[in-house]
């Protein structure tokens, strides 16, 4: 595997100029190890013939690293000082160290813990050259990670196989270090770490890689203050929810469990009214309508009020959904009425607009799937909406929210929480048996990626993904004057069956938590469904339990 000599000569004229230094720094022992390579000696490089293979190998690694390094890496070539360029082997080694450790010299207020493993910092400031041997091993390993994906199978050289779990751990540590740097407002360090994350992420595969990439992008956006232009377009988000509905069971679980609670609340009513805070494509309602149609005693008259965001192209998306539902209703023989309301925010709604009829005539249900947490971004938002709900006098309120704490005051805590949450979520997408990586899967990941971006990069009114855990929502609803309605065994059974249908049914878990149902992946709950009624009113579910 001999390099062509011309390539070596092209890589710099420095060695010729600094050849005078070599006499001082380099003590060559001519007796140890054979003759210098004649051809290279002519050019001013002293390479022993026995070392040729090694040098060639390192040059090859260098070429690969240069190919995969970020653009900034190349410019570092000019800035670094090579202590003995005519020692070709050592020179290449220095370059490799530079490429694999693109961090700048460490900030004095940054305490370097060896667990972050930034030994690859170039120069002698951090680590004296004596310790460069373990550093060499590290860089050799890292360079191998870059090259292993492309060529390890074809080489006959002894390759140190990198433990990808090790880079996985390193990746997580670097993510955390970057978040900490952002928390401390140390943007220079954060910037360097973000680039490092990119390199590490490329050596991973699958869910870890995707999650790391999204988090790295979000961190970069936060550091450079470049916010995604369409982050505030909720109609785009609605469209992205469709592939998410299809590829994984979370939304289906949400719909089925909420429907079960609503069905039980509607058990004796002859006219019912559902107010859906986020109509989107109306995927929740066909199943409810079918269940109402087959109700013993015949279906009630069904009225649906759907609320949605304004569309960028001014089409009436709500009306189209209403039309489809009307066709379905006609098919299965249900009296159906639909109204759509366009609102930028739920807080803009006034209950009077909704034409609520008295409870003796019509039973009302309010449904909010992932619609309440964005209200936490505006002061007073959630209070206004809760009081509106109370004014509607609903028999039941169904709430589905993400089971995560992404609304804490400290950025680093939010970041850590989000990292765990979305890693689990992506893991479940991976393991859900969607065998060929389909476009729907990619769109679902994009849907989640936008959430990640919002949680990490945005602040203030822009940060709408303010997820809070069930315990906090419980407190909020109870102080506002609601009491919990227990989701019964029917809902639990339906949910369990639904999940068993998904290819990796053993990964998903349904848990009952004080009358609420939570869906999670292995041990981590991810979304929670809860149902509420106005405190002081009697609940209908006790009656239905007797009947069933």
């Amino acid at each position: 595997m001999k390099r062509d000599h011309q390539e070596i000569s092209g890589s710099g004229s420095k060695p010729a100029e600094s050849s005078s230094i070599k006499g001082k720094l380099w003590e060559e022992d001519p007796d140890a190890g054979g003759m210098d390579d004649e051809l290279l000696a002519v050019l001013g490089y002293k390479v022993r013939s026995s070392d040729m293979a090694d040098v060639a190998q390192k040059l090859e690694m260098l070429e690969k690293v240069m190919g995969t390094a970020q653009e900034d890496g190349i410019s570092q070539l000019g800035d670094t000082v090579h202590f003995n360029p005519s020692d070709l082997s050592g020179w290449v080694q220095n370059l490799l160290i530079e490429f694999n450790g693109p961090t700048t010299t460490p900030d004095p207020n940054f305490n370097d813990d060896s667990e972050y493993d930034l030994r690859a910092i170039p120069g002698v400031a951090a680590y004296p050259p004596v310790k460069s041997d373990p550093g060499l091993e590290n860089t050799r390993k890292r360079a191998k990670t870059e090259s292993s994906s492309s060529s390890s199978s074809t080489t006959t050289r002894p390759v140190v196989l990198i433990d990808s779990q090790e880079t996985g751990v390193r990746l997580v540590h670097t993510l955390m270090a970057c978040a900490e740097a952002v928390q401390q407002d140390n943007l220079k360090l954060a910037d360097a770490l973000v680039k490092h994350i990119g390199l590490l992420a490329s050596s991973q595969t699958g869910a870890m890689r995707k999650v790391a990439t999204y988090f790295a992008e979000a961190l970069a956006r936060r550091i450079y203050r470049i916010f995604p232009p369409d982050s505030l377009d909720p109609s785009y988000n609605d469209k992205l929810q469709i592939p998410f509905y299809e590829t994984c069971p979370y939304l289906k679980f949400a719909h089925f469990t909420a429907n079960q609670a609503i069905l039980e609340a509607f058990s004796m009513a002859s006219r019912v009214h559902v107010i859906d805070f986020g109509l989107k494509q109306g995927m929740q309602w066909p199943a409810l309508m079918q269940a109402l149609a087959l109700r013993p005693g015949g279906p009630p008259a069904f009225r649906l009020t759907g609320i949605g965001p304004p569309q960028p192209d001014n089409t009436d998306a709500l009306q189209q959904v209403g039309w489809k539902l009307a066709q379905l209703a006609e098919r299965i023989g249900i009296e159906f009425e639909f109204r759509g309301f366009v609102a930028n925010s739920l807080a803009d709604l006034e209950p009077e607009m909704l034409d609520i009829r008295p409870p003796e005539i019509e039973v009302v249900a309010v449904n909010a799937v992932f619609e309440l947490h964005p209200l936490l971004a505006r002061p007073g938002g959630i209070e206004k909406v809760v009081s509106s709900i109370k004014a509607m006098k609903p028999k039941i309120v169904t709430v589905v929210e993400q089971e995560a704490n992404h609304n804490g005051p400290v950025f680093l805590d939010r970041f850590t929480e989000a990292l765990h949450y979305y890693s689990t979520l992506f893991d479940s997408l991976e393991g859900s048996g969607v065998a060929p990586p389909s476009q729907d899967l990619a769109m679902s990941e994009l849907y989640l990626g936008r959430q990640i971006c919002n949680v990490v990069a945005c602040e203030g009114m822009d940060r709408v993904e303010r997820h809070e855990p069930l315990t906090q929502w419980r407190t909020r609803m109870e102080t506002a004057g609601f009491s919990p309605v227990h989701l019964g065994s029917n809902a639990y059974k339906q949910a369990s069956m639904l999940l068993a249908l998904f290819a990796s049914g053993d990964g998903y878990r349904v848990e009952e938590n004080n009358g609420c149902l939570m869906l999670g992946w292995h041990t981590r709950p991810l979304i929670a469904t809860s149902a509420w009624r106005l405190a002081g009113t009697e609940s209908g579910s006790e009656l239905t339990q007797e009947l069933s």
Binding site: G333, A435, Q494
Partner: protein
């Protein structure tokens, strides 16, 4: 015994036709239906390719209705009108009931039989609703309007 009988008949074929009327199942459609009613889904599909008569019978939705509700207490009459409106029992069976039953077979508990049908009906309704999308590709970023909400049932299970 039948074979020896045939041997004797071989010489007197013409006379035999008048003496011994052969039994053709196709002449007795009611018996045929009773038999086909008891078949499982796959056999019913195979039966449909035997001959035109069998094909017509097998297409009859009531046979598939039987299949769907075989192990379940008889459903209320309202179910029939809903199912027929949404596409018929054959579609319900092949699209929902069969995959649901086979998937849940691993973890099935006896009490789930009725709920399996309930769940299948709900999924069936969702599927119908998606098919209503038709030429209107609003909301579908991908542009295809083919319903895929039931696709998760079609995907091979990694056993």
């Amino acid at each position: 015994m039948v074979q020896t009988h045939h041997c004797e008949d071989h010489e007197t074929v013409g006379e035999d036709k008048e003496k011994r009327p052969k039994f053709f199942i196709n002449d007795h459609v009611d018996i045929l239906i009773e038999i086909l009613k008891r078949l499982d889904g796959r056999s019913l599909c195979v039966a449909a390719s035997v001959c035109r008569l069998w094909c017509t019978i097998a297409r009859n939705d009531s046979l598939w209705e039987n299949l769907c509700f075989r192990h379940v207490s008889p459903p209320p009459s309202s179910v029939r009108s809903v199912v027929l409106a949404l596409g018929g029992y054959k579609r319900l069976y092949t699209g929902c009931v069969r995959p649901v039953r086979s998937r849940l077979g691993r973890v099935r508990r006896a009490s789930w039989a009725g709920d399996e049908v309930q769940l299948s009906l709900s999924l069936f309704c969702v599927d119908y609703y998606e098919r209503l999308g038709g030429s209107n590709s609003n909301g579908r970023l991908v542009g295809e309007s083919s319903p895929s909400s039931l696709m998760f049932l079609c995907k091979p299970v990694n056993v």
